[in-house]
Amino acid sequence: MEHIRTTKVEQVKLLDRFSTSNKALTGTLYLTATHLLFIDSHQKETWILHHHIASVEKLALTTSGCPLVIQCKNFRIVHFIVPRERDCHDIYNSLLQLSKQAKYEDLYAFSYNPKQNDSERLRGWQLIDLAEEYKRMGVPNSNWQLSDANREYKICETYPRELYVPRIASKPIIVGSSKFRSKGRFPVLSYYHREKEAAVCRCSQPLSGFSARCLEDEHLLQAISKANPVNRYMYVMDTRPKHRMQSWWATQKDIGRIIVRISSKIWNDEKIRESHEQKRLNAMANRAAGKGYENEDNYSNIRFQFVGIENIHVMRSSLQKLLEVNGTKGLSVNDFYSGLESSGWLRHIKAVMDAAIFLTKAIMIENASVLVHCSDGWDRTSQVCSLGSLLLDSFYRTIRGFMVLIEKDWISFGHKFSERCGHLDSDPKEVSPVFTQFLECVWHLTEQFPQAFEFNEAFLLQIHEHIYSCQFGNFLGNCQKEREELKLKEKTYSLWPFLLDDQKKYLNPLYSPKSQAVAVLEPNTVSFNFKFWRNMYHQFDRTLHPRQSVFNIIMNMNEQNKQLENDIKDLESKIKQHKNKQTDGVLTKELLHSVRPESPTLKTSLCFKEQTLLPVNDALRTIEGSNPADNRDVSSVGKGLVQAPSRPRHRQLAPRQAQ
């Protein structure tokens, strides 16, 4: 609280950045310990969490006041005009302090209290159990086992305690391999495909240098390939691109010699061979620096695949460019598309998707195990492994499964959420929208496969909101070890139970898990299937949105259907009982009332009532409904039903009358 000088400023104007009229909302701005709150004259509230603020900017004083522009990590941009410069300055300074905390303990999650007791909190944290998840996949089994090598975080600080490795990989092999891999991140199991008995493994790049080799690492990879009883060949996917290190490599003198060496190498697979010479140069460059890729001379039964996903810095500036273009007022169509192109954002999304598809195909078509790595194995590797698992396994396309997937490939394997999201006041060069890209890839899949996902877009947006909000403990810290040290499970709450409680909001009404003939998704990554995700990057710019939501109305309809079907079943069974009991069979009003206390139209909200769909031939029905015979019949049935004069009923009754 010591940062807050002014808690309330009146007569503040809020400008809409896309509205064509220059009318502004006037209201009062409040500054609390956790939020910035604006209440306009219509009593509409705009809450902005301090942790969501990415930057605050004070513009030059104008006649109407001092403009304050706040950009948020969830892509909200607000433009206030504060009448007095002094107030503006105070708020500006306070926000600068409040939005950048130095210590984890000052983050919102440590003070957030949703009024749960300790056991509820603990249950919330136990909701997602990764051991359970590995069991679901089918490990441990005869080929894979749980390793206790990292139980005390001794081998790799950024990995979880529980790791699954090939049964034949002994502890010395694991320890040896971890010394050979950047940050000790040796190859471990990420996903096991029970049916194909093939595995998706992940690691970081080897520290091989030009000639160094590591027998233990070679053994570990051998063990992974042997753990697949069907196909002994395995793929090693290096997710890094070619050109970045190529320019560096071009300065190296003995380039010619190495190119000759590479090209003389005989590849097993013609398809992969094409064009990968170039990509490999990259990894070669890295190798010269003591890091790089596996020298395939030393590894048998391995095919190398290079996919070009750019590094975190490229991704950061790509998003920055995209946001700059989209923030332009009065943007022309041409500037939008040339901006979209030059930002490269969709190209990057496509690269991630293509990599995941490669992984899926390796497993499904060739039955081969795949080892994925990038540099440190916590950004691009997480993207590819998790997206690949999502394509392979329909469980991850459910609400709970998606939570498990994030816990497994992102949280537990040490994606550095706090650094990538800039939770604390730290190095801005470590910030990068890697996880946002993953969510966007999933969104593209939901667009291409509208029936394959249990959740909807709102679910993805809500998760995105919370990786930055610091309201829950899940995404704080950079790895499991750090999270344990922070005692997050005792001091903060888990996001997942709250999302599950709100599940209704996130359900996809079109989800049909059974109609999906193939459980494996095969997305088409032809360029025009990638679209700008307006609902993410403009989620707060309401003027740009479709004005009506199809999802909500279908959801409502679906629910109403279920409700009505249940009612009908109830009624029918009661009628049966009734008939059995009383042979004279008069259905009393009370009985009807007990089944349907209110009419279906009254049950739903008023706004939905207005949206009730009219059946195809309206005119025809009106005529039927106006038939006095029908009306008489309805009134004789009982008051309970007269309250719900839904028109189709007349249609149903008419033929019976005729009989």
Binding site: L331, V333, F336, Y337, R347, G585, A644
Partner: protein, 543 residues
């Protein structure tokens, strides 16, 4: 009929490749006067495959060895490949298709021969004309009348027989105003907005010429419009050309309304693309959509370069401007460009969709198309002679009507519950505008249609579309009447490429179709469950 002279060969064995998602067909290929037929062998289960020759936009033949390949690019953007046995047969069939698909005579075209089962000639032809709309206007105001000054099409060859004009202006004045407007298209009522009491008019450019001529009757007509709306009403003239282009038009006899001559009217220029640049934009977009291998950067730069979405934005924002002028400012609006048969109609029809809930219903929209495009004299035959694949030098082709359909699709995306019709109707209108067995889109004006006796000798598309079996394809299952104006967002972020049209044949049939089926299922379930509730009560034994 002399078709037989153009048919070089009767039949050949061929295999037809229909693109992703559809299995190839083998059978006997046969060219008739209007169709290309492929009849699969007797053991095959599938039916006869039929293609209207009129819908072929371009044809490409290749021979190799003792067989040949014909690639047909259709006006609905479909690409078909025929592998034919025999070099001679291939060349003959190709020549026959070329000759038959480019026949220009209207009265020998297929609609004059098409006699579908279940439809009667003359049905639905009297369903939509301006008289019908006038009845509605007359209920709302008495400032307007139906004039038959154009009864014999002598005043304006591209207008229908009857038009709606201010009551205060007599037929002689109309005729003189018509002489002052290009093509005789004097200002007529397009839409009456009852809530604000204002009107939307359309015309062609005034023929002021370099001497800045004036026409007292034309000025009187527009004065009467303002007087009829309400005292002190203002008006806006939305010129769909740039101020400079309008000025230049004077050199060729055209021009624009002088400020002093039309008190109360203010001119606004909203330049919109038309004619050849629009056609080129269409061609380039379709080209880009046909390339499945291109990189993301290339695709985005082609999407930008073709400018199609920029045209969509222009059209929608000009329509919004016109609609806003009426609804928010209470002003009367006159829209015109040069000829008043293209971008003018685009703006007036879109403005009505934005403002008028009735025009968003199934019948209302069909009436709108009939009244604001067909009867209003959009030269369909000239504009839709060729689609995006033709190698012929474009003359009068322009996809103005397609641009309209695209804008309607964008409205439907932004207001998914407010249009009673779905994408299916828009796709059908696109197809039929370019090649159709029905007579609705034939010819360039009412006058020509009368000469060709289109109304009595062909079937109306509307009666074809309004058959019950077509309904599910055409309707929007989620429709609910929305009594308000629907204001679309025209920011580039809100506009999308109409994939359902431009990528309809290049992408494999997507799971989205299954999803749409599911939506239908939910909607019909809902109707059923609501409907079945009384079944229970009715099964109750009567006391």
């Amino acid at each position: 009929m002399e078709f037989s002279e153009l048919i070089r060969t009767g039949r050949a064995q061929a295999e037809l490749l229909r693109g992703p998602g559809a299995p190839p067909l083998r059978g006997t290929l046969c060219v008739t006067g209007h169709h290309l037929l492929l009849s699969p062998g007797p053991q095959a289960t599938s039916d006869l495959w039929l293609l209207l020759l009129r819908s072929v936009d371009s044809i490409e033949k290749r021979v190799a060895g003792d067989s040949g390949t014909i690639t047909l690019r259709c006006k609905d953007l479909r690409v078909l490949q025929l592998d034919i046995e025999g070099v001679e047969a291939t060349l003959d069939i190709a020549r026959s298709i070329e000759a038959l698909s480019s026949l220009e005579s209207v009265i020998t075209s297929f609609p004059f021969f098409y006699r579908p089962k279940g439809l009667r000639l003359g049905d639905a032809w009297h369903f939509h004309p301006p008289e019908h709309y006038y009845k509605r206007v007359a209920r709302e105001t008495n400032a307007w009348r139906l004039s038959e000054v154009n009864e014999d099409f002598s005043v304006c060859p591209s207008y229908p027989r009857a038009v709606i004009v201010p009551r205060a202006v007599d037929d002689d004045a109309l005729a003189r105003s018509a002489r002052f407007r290009q093509g005789g298209r004097f200002p007529v009522l397009s839409y009456h907005h009852a809530p604000s009491g204002t009107v939307l008019l359309r015309s062609s450019q005034p023929l002021t010429g370099p001497q800045k001529r004036r026409c007292a009757e034309d000025e009187e007509l527009l004065r009467a419009v303002l007087a009829g709306a309400r005292p002190g009403a203002r008006g806006f003239i939305v010129d769909t050309r740039s101020a400079q282009a309008a000025k230049q038009a004077r050199m060729t006899g055209g021009g624009t309304e002088a400020k002093a001559a039309y008190p109360g009217w203010k001119r606004l220029h909203r330049p919109m693309e038309r004619g050849r640049p629009l056609q080129e934009s269409f061609v380039r977009l379709v080209e880009a959509c046909g390339d499945l291998e291109q990189s993301m950067d290339r695709w985005l730069s082609r999407l930008e370069g073709c400018r199609w979405l920029a045209h969509v934005k222009e059209a929608l924002s000009t329509a919004c401007l016109a609609a806003q002028g009426m609804e928010r400012e209470g002003a009367c609006i006159l829209v015109h460009g040069a000829e008043g048969t293209d971008s003018t109609l685009l703006v007036t029809s879109l403005a009505q969709l934005i403002l008028d809930p009735l025009s968003r219903t199934m019948t209302g929209f069909q009436e709108l198309v009939e009244r604001e495009w067909i009867q209003a004299g959009h030269p369909f035959q000239l504009r839709c002679a060729h689609s995006a694949f033709s190698h012929a030098r474009p003359k009068h082709e322009a996809p103005t009507f397609l641009l309209f359909l695209d804008c309607v699709w964008q409205l439907g995306r932004q207001f998914p519950l407010s249009l009673e019709f779905g994408e299916g109707l828009l796709l059908a209108l696109f197809e039929h505008a370019y090649a159709s067995p029905f007579g609705t889109f034939l010819c360039n004006s009412e006058k020509e249609r009368c000469l060709c006796e289109v109304r009595t000798r062909t079937h109306s598309l509307w009666s074809g579309l309004n058959q019950p079996k077509e309904q599910r394809k055409l309707r929007n299952p989620l429709y609910v009447l929305n009594p308000l104006a629907i204001w679309p967002s025209v920011e580039p972020q809100s506009l999308r490429l109409w994939q359902g049209l431009f990528l309809r044949w290049t992408r494999p049939p997507e799971p989205s179709e299954a999803a749409w089926e599911k939506v239908w299922q939910i909607v019909t379930d809902k109707e059923k469950t609501e409907g079945s509730q009384p079944t229970v009560s009715a099964s109750e034994p009567q006391p």
